[in-house]
């Protein structure tokens, strides 16, 4: 069984430390949620896990399927089975959704077998159509330029579509609920739930509890100031919804204060 294991992770961007010793393990089949106020490093964690070059790991380790993830480029991490649904997916003008997805599938196939001729077109079309139907996407969507002029909801659906096609073992959803109305949120969540199961581990990063009404986590973690400071079951999310983050902050500062004494 695949697992993503993060140990004492310290990450800086432009010389400023954002993650300050984060520990977390996500196993295939589990759904974890990371919650926390803005500016605590949630997106930094997502980008670092995927290997964005702007984020420098200064200390700690990330292991995935027995491999040191820090030694792998972003494309290798993806082919190993890691996926990031971006908070702000970038537009790629001139490249259609279909062309992009076919290239991504073929990259996987060629990595496994350099002689591979690529996915047969009819097989690809069927796969794409099936997944798009599940996400209630018009078939014309496949011919549009990737994320170019997409609405917020379309971008997020396109992220989930990619996840469905690429079949990761661990998926990180970075603020996938942001910018979605309730209908879009439901469609996106249904998409994630349809993919969730024993073969998929999910790490949901969210600011609001709202998304967790649709995607039910097994574990909830609270992140503050670059660390996970509180972990629990689904109840923790509800508690945060009711009481906010202030009590966690107070508790954390108290502990921190004791530690520094």
């Amino acid at each position: 069984m695949s697992q993503l294991e993060i140990k004492n992770l310290h990450v800086s961007i432009d010389g400023r430390e954002i993650l300050k010793g984060l520990d977390l393990t996500v196993k295939q089949g589990e759904i974890h949620a990371i919650m926390g106020p803005n500016g605590t490093g949630k997106s930094t964690l997502a980008y670092t896990l995927m290997g964005h070059p702007a984020y420098t790991v200064t200390e700690g380790e990330i292991w995935f399927k027995g491999q040191n993830l820090l030694e792998l480029e972003a494309d290798e991490r993806s082919r190993q089975g890691l996926f990031l649904a971006f908070q702000y997916p970038v537009a790629i003008p001139g490249v259609t959704v279909a062309n992009f997805l076919r290239t991504a599938i073929n990259a996987r196939r060629r990595a496994a077998d350099p002689e591979d001729k690529g996915v047969p077109i009819p097989e690809f079309r069927k796969m794409l159509k099936d997944q798009m139907d599940l996400l209630k996407m018009e078939s014309s969507f496949a011919g549009r330029y990737l994320n170019d002029g997409f609405s917020g909801g379309e971008k997020k659906r396109a992220e989930i579509l990619q996840m469905a096609i690429l079949k990761p073992e661990i998926a990180i959803l970075d603020e996938t609920d942001s910018g979605l109305d309730i209908d879009a949120l439901r469609i996106v969540s249904d998409g994630v739930n349809a993919l969730a199961g024993p073969d998929l581990g999910v790490l949901v990063i969210t600011h609001y509890q709202r998304l967790l009404n649709y995607i039910k986590p097994h574990f909830v973690h609270v992140m503050l100031d670059g660390r996970i400071v509180e972990s629990g079951g689904p109840d923790l999310a509800l508690h945060l919804e009711e009481h906010g983050y202030e009590w966690v902050r107070e508790k954390y500062e108290e502990t921190n204060g004791q530690l520094s004494q």
């Binding site: 494309d75 993806s78 971006f86 790629i92 991504a104 996987r108």
Partner: protein
């Protein structure tokens, strides 16, 4: 694309070097025939015009000092027999399943095929030699009518010595369904290939014509070409022009297509070869309601230098032109695009558009993009845009995060960059050819 508008205005002028001149003599001019006077005039112009230097505005960014003009030879009759043959892929149809006709121009020779059904309907599609002999009136009515030999040293050179050429005439009202195809194959280091192409799509006629020029990678050689095209009243021409000259070729051409009243031109242009290219492509919208679209694709790598000068001349009212040239550059290559929209006095209600977009893929490559407008009428709509950009990092990371290795991610983005050009090309075969060029150039280091 991370793009910023770029207009280069450079006032520095290099001191004019002294490029050596050609050593051709008047004895090499084909004697007799209907073009005798024309060739004599061209020879006079050739003798009186110096080789262009960067002191001339049009040549400011393209330096000919390395051109070994004096050592170039004209191919002898049947020279092709001892030279590499035309590769099969150049002879395949690009725009349909089958050709209506094909002309292959070789050093010192040619091969011609034309569907007998088209011959019976009065279509002429043949090499220039044959045309001079069999259709002297047509040749006389076309040569020198659209491009003047005095326009430049290389126009005069091609006019005087043009050993190789094509004549295409489509009679009034005739629509040709199957495309016509010509290939100019120019093997042989040290040779000067001179071509002269004449096209007349008569009133109400319609045709697709593809012309390709290519050669193997060899030592220095030269191509100078003239292209004179007339699209008659309410006539329609789709013209595809592709150059994949070898890396040793110094390539020069003067091209002008004149479109008559309510005529329509779709001009597609691809350039991936040559050592150095200087190409003048002009569109004359000469009759009221004429429309012309120019779509250019170029990709330079290594030390290639591609210089395209385009001109959209609105000479009559209610004319429409639409130019989009897109280019990518790798290695230490250089491109120049200099475009001008000219609107003549009285050419009211015209609509002119020009855009040039460049993608620079290496630190050492450079693209100059110089749009221009000269408008002498007061009720017109003319717009232009020019950009030079690089590949952005965020989209590359996004593609990589989906498992696509960097080289492929870059290729995908370059293809995306060119997609607006591909969308304008109504031929799968031509699009595939461009895709192959992208593939090839992107995988070279």
């Amino acid at each position: 694309m991370e793009e910023k508008p770029k207009i280069v205005i450079s006032r520095t002028r290099r001191p004019a070097g002294t490029p050596q001149d050609f050593a051709f003599s008047a004895e090499a001019i084909p004697a007799g025939g209907v073009l005798e006077d024309y060739r004599r005039r061209a020879w006079e112009a050739f003798r009186s015009l110096p080789l262009p230097t960067p002191a001339e505005e049009a040549w400011r960014r393209t330096d000919l000092r390395g051109l070994p003009a004096a050592s170039l030879r004209l191919p002898l009759p049947d020279a092709w027999r001892d030279l590499p043959p035309v590769p099969a892929h150049l002879l395949r149809p690009l725009t349909a399943d089958q050709h209506g006709g094909q002309v292959i121009l070789l050093p010192g020779g040619s091969r011609v095929e034309l569907d007998p059904a088209l011959v019976a309907r009065g279509v002429v599609f043949t090499d220039l030699r044959t045309a001079e002999r069999d259709y002297p009136e047509l040749v006389a009515r076309m040569a020198g009518q659209t491009v003047r030999v005095e326009e430049g040293k290389f126009a005069a050179l091609a006019g005087a010595f043009g050993q190789n050429g094509v004549l295409l005439y489509v009679p009034k009202g005739l629509t040709i369904d199957r495309p016509l195809h010509s290939v100019l194959w120019g093997p042989g280091g040290g040779l000067a290939h001179l071509s002269h192409i004449l096209v007349w799509v008569d009133d109400g006629a319609s045709v697709t014509y593809v012309h390709e020029a290519a050669s193997p990678d060899e030592a220095d050689s030269l191509h100078a070409g003239l292209l004179e095209v007339r699209v008659g009243e309410a006539a329609s021409l789709k013209f595809v022009e592709l150059q994949s000259w070898g890396r040793g070729v110094w390539n020069f051409s003067h091209e002008r297509i004149q479109v008559g009243r309510a005529g329509n031109l779709d001009w597609i242009f691809g350039a991936v070869g040559s050592r150095l290219t200087k190409n003048f492509s002009e569109l004359d919208l000469a009759g009221e309601g004429a429309t012309g679209r120019m779509s250019g694709f170029y990709f330079a790598d290594g030390t290639q230098h591609l210089d395209h000068d385009t001109q959209q001349n609105h000479l009559a009212p209610h004319t429409t032109s639409d130019l989009l040239f897109k280019g990518a550059l790798k290695g230490r290559s250089r491109s120049v695009w200099q475009g001008m929209i000219y609107v003549a006095p009285g050419a009211q209600k015209t609509d002119g558009y020009q855009a040039n977009r460049n993608l620079v893929l290496s630190e050492e490559a450079r693209a100059d993009s110089i749009p221009g407008l000269e408008i002498l009428a007061d009720d017109v709509r003319c717009t232009h845009g020019a950009t030079v950009g690089k590949l952005e990092q965020e989209p590359l990371f996004y593609l990589k995060s989906r498992g696509i290795p960097l080289p492929e991610a870059e290729r995908l983005m370059v293809e995306g960059f060119f997609d607006p050009i591909m969308q304008r090309i109504p031929f799968d075969g031509v699009r595939e050819r461009f895709q192959q060029a992208i593939h090839q150039k992107m995988s070279l280091d």
